[in-house]
């Protein structure tokens, strides 16, 4: 059965690219366009993994991360941060808050995301 990956990303083009790549690798892609929708989607859909942008409208990614991690029903869902924020303090903060990985958009290879997702889900 295909694994569900929730993509929380407000940039529609970036969302489309992730959707395409993840679908080509047989993942089922769910989408949320802002932080508020993202929190709702995590709690309602309980995806197998979340790809989380940080610079989001309404509620930012750090708040999404915080809300998910304090809810015992969904706290164990792995979250990979994928953001333009690339400073060391942001990376450390995201990982300290419970993200399993932090990728910087301007530097990452989308195939890395796929490999990381596969590794994480295989271990679950």
């Amino acid at each position: 059965m295909a694994k569900n990956i929730l993509v929380i990303e407000d940039d529609d083009f970036f969302r489309e690219l992730l959707r395409k790549k993840l679908s080509l690798n047989d993942f089922n892609v769910l989408e949320a366009v802002d932080g508020e929708d993202g929190i709702k989607a995590v709690k309602e859909k309980k995806p197998d993994l979340v790809i989380l942008d940080l610079l989001l409208p309404n509620v930012d990614g750090f708040e999404v991360l915080s809300q998910v991690k304090i809810d015992s029903a969904v706290a164990s869902i792995p979250i990979i941060i994928l953001s333009n924020l690339g400073q060391q303090e942001d990376i450390e903060r995201g990982l300290k808050m419970g993200a399993i990985d932090y990728l910087v958009k301007s530097q990452f290879d989308i195939n890395q995301v796929v490999d990381k997702i596969k590794n994480v889900l295989e271990k679950k």
């Binding site: 407000d10 940039d11 083009f13 970036f14 690219l17 395409k20 790549k21 080509l24 802002d34 610079l55 409208p57 309404n58 333009n84 924020l85 690339g86 958009k105 301007s106 290879d109 989308i110 195939n111």
Partner: protein, 250 residues
């Protein structure tokens, strides 16, 4: 983009956020660049169907330019955070003639669209290679040429020239871009190299720009121990100059 306006309003209202205004502007610049980077790589990998050899070549060229832009945005962010010490220079021997040629090619489409006549005055004497950061000097030249194109009305003219000048303090490469466009009002000249500055006349004419280009040119040229300056008359055009020393490899 109402969500972004809302976020900017929050910042303007003085609410404390952990992301300062400059940082946000830089990340807004990085957003489209990152998406372009990813989509081009996916195109190359055949995720959207097969591509021809020629398409592959062009996509790679776009990727290179995009990568250069990403570096520049990061450099600028580092300048903001660390001051001029933040810029990392990669010193190599650079062929200025070749560099100018490739930058002019990048601007060719816009030049043709606006039917601008471009005169490129090449020096008769073979230009020596110079010790420089090729990517950054390329960006400085590109910013100056892009400005000249932007602020020249359709059907206008631009002149580009470069030469070696001698002097007591050693040889210098002098690069010049002259346009016959809108020029710079006298009372605005002193602020021209200031970050985010945009002339009253260009804002009125709705010419798109960030106000960062000349500030970056200044930063790059001064990082090469060079000088940048200009001459301009309102409604008659502007000439931008920079010189950088010809330093041979140590």
């Amino acid at each position: 983009m109402p969500e972004r306006i809302s976020r900017k309003s929050k910042i303007k209202a003085g609410k404390k956020t952990e992301i300062d205004l400059i940082s946000l502007a830089v990340h807004q610049l990085e957003r489209p660049l990152s998406a372009i980077n990813v989509s081009l790589k996916m195109l190359l990998e055949g995720d959207f169907g097969s591509v021809t050899k020629e398409q592959r070549h062009i996509i790679r060229k776009i990727l290179e330019r995009n990568k250069a832009m990403i570096f520049l945005v990061n450099d600028f962010f580092n300048v903001e955070k660390f001051g001029s010490k933040g810029l990392v220079y990669k010193w190599t021997m650079v062929d200025i003639e070749k560099l100018v040629g490739s930058v002019v090619k990048l601007a060719q489409e816009e030049i043709s669209n606006k039917k601008i006549r471009l005169e490129l005055e090449k020096t008769r004497i073979k230009m020596p290679k110079i010790m420089a950061d090729e990517e950054k000097i390329g960006v400085a030249i590109q910013n100056l040429i892009d400005n000249a194109v932007k602020y020249t009305p359709p059907g206008g003219k631009i002149k580009i020239s470069y030469r070696v000048k001698g002097g007591e303090k050693g040889s210098r490469v002098e690069f010049k871009v002259q346009d016959y466009g809108i020029g710079i009002p006298e009372d605005q000249k002193k602020d021209l190299f200031t970050k985010f500055f945009r002339g009253r006349n260009v804002v009125k004419m709705n010419i798109v720009g960030s106000g960062l280009g000349l500030c970056i040119v200044k930063s790059i040229i001064e990082g090469h121990r060079g000088k940048v300056w200009f001459k301009s008359k309102d409604n008659q055009g502007s000439t931008f100059f920079f010189t950088i020393p010809v330093r041979q490899k140590d």
